[in-house]
Symmetry: C2
Subunit: 280 residues, 2 copies
């Protein structure tokens, strides 16, 4: 099969590596408006050829749109215009807005909305890696709007990437993604800002940062190009969960200030439940 | 050398493993008021013998107090009463209160206040592991109050554990620890509570949790026995940094709500600076 990957970053590039390696695709064509990324992806062998959008679509059986969520909203209708008889999917972290924008597109049934929940804090083609998706979840949304064969193909693609497939409508997807993924990133961005502001001596941050700090602040290395449009498109859910998060922190603050040791203990114990939840 | 470890948990146990393995100690005696921990530590070979506090101190050259910060405040004066001519150190994450409590103790100079900045979210003797401290920082506080030979011995101990030694007074230690370590834990506890509250369907948490969520929420598995006394003893610094953290989150909230993409981008970019700081 010939696949075209539009957007040769961490996600598109990592998919390209394993889809070829595991025999799902014979040829991978790349499209990227950023020349440096395009040349990089070609020279490290993520793709066999760099094409224009039109060429990439016409030459391939399947198209993966792997650009940030704001670019996807603009790009996806154009891709669909040219994609009759092909299969198109995207990998964005928000699904509601994207599904809305192409809801009445004449080629809607070629498109399968998906979100592979994997990543690292790095970006660009040089961050791509084999095995990125292994054992993680891929969410397929609103599949009743897609052609059954297109869904089967996208499912097979994610199975090749060793992902567990989960079905969800796009509205629910965005609620759960806000609660579980998007809030973690804001928590981490804000933590980095706090430490950088309070701890003016950056040498101290380096000296005193232990494994705990590193892991909590890791996501603060993530790219604004990816996250600004996610927060925009998923605004309402993100604000709701942020309100709850701030409320919990304020409760901690009050209890610490008032030396309410037993109540702090109860909150920590309750939060420890996450251990069991993540293990099931 | 004979070392007595008081408190056979993650930190005490991990130190015991490597101090013996690397030839710093020939014999390690263990003291723990919790019978299950004591027997566990003995049966997995962390210590050679379980003793009473009195026996442990009288038979050893060096005593490591590795109990939670509240227990340390009660225990350390008792240990020092019996420790004339020996070297005593502790490993607590707060230093101000502990240094204050023994400031005028007759054996103050036997004691070296220290904080090895390493750990995992697990606790108890079964969580102990070789290599836990390698490459991390150990902070020695108020060393001018300690005997110079005692400081040299504790320094050698941490060098055996492959730690970088940093000197700091206990007041500054607590400020920096709040900014860099303690806030990460509150951020993580609150995140776990938020997700558990908002995402009532725990199966979804498991399904949708990717690497990013896991790493941000990891510290929420930490023990309240350790953290309640830290927040108590370092209350003022913790509340101050928590205020800044909440303020940053509120700023994110406002900007997201008002679709201020450019300003959100600036905040994320500023937080990305943590990348460079952690690399120096």
């Amino acid at each position: 099969m010939v696949i075209t990957v539009i957007g040769l970053g961490l996600i598109g590039g990592s998919a390209a590596i394993d889809l070829r390696k595991r025999g799902f695709a014979n040829t991978i064509l790349g499209v990227d408006s950023d020349k440096i990324n395009a040349n990089g992806a070609l020279s490290i062998g993520l793709v066999d050829e760099i094409c224009t959008l039109e060429d990439g679509i016409s030459k391939s059986d399947m198209i993966i749109v792997a650009v940030p969520a704001d670019a996807a909203v603009t790009l996806l209708p154009k891709v669909l215009d040219l994609a009759e008889g092909k299969v198109v999917t995207d990998v964005c972290s928000t699904k509601g807005r994207i599904c809305e924008i192409i809801k009445y597109h004449k080629n809607r049934r070629c498109y399968v909305a998906s979100h592979p929940m994997a990543g690292t804090e790095f970006s660009g083609p040089w961050a791509a890696m084999s095995g990125l998706f292994d054992g993680k979840s891929a969410i397929l949304c609103d599949t009743e709007e897609s052609d059954i064969k297109a869904v089967a193909k996208v499912k097979r693609m994610y199975e090749t990437l060793n992902m567990r497939i989960i079905y969800m409508n796009s509205t629910n997807h965005d609620v759960h993604a806000a609660y579980i993924s998007h809030i973690s990133h804001i928590s981490s961005f804000a933590l980095a800002l706090t430490v950088l502001e309070k701890e003016r001596n950056e040498k101290h941050i380096f000296d005193l940062a232990s494994g705990g700090f590193d892991s909590t602040v890791r996501l603060a290395k993530s790219s604004p190009d990816m996250w600004v449009p996610i927060f925009h498109q998923n605004k309402e859910n993100v604000v709701t969960v942020l309100d709850t998060y701030i409320e919990k922190l304020q409760k901690f603050r009050t209890l610490i200030k008032e030396d309410e040791g037993e109540k702090i203990r109860d909150m920590i114990k309750e939060s420890n439940r996450i251990k069991a939840v993540l293990k099931h």
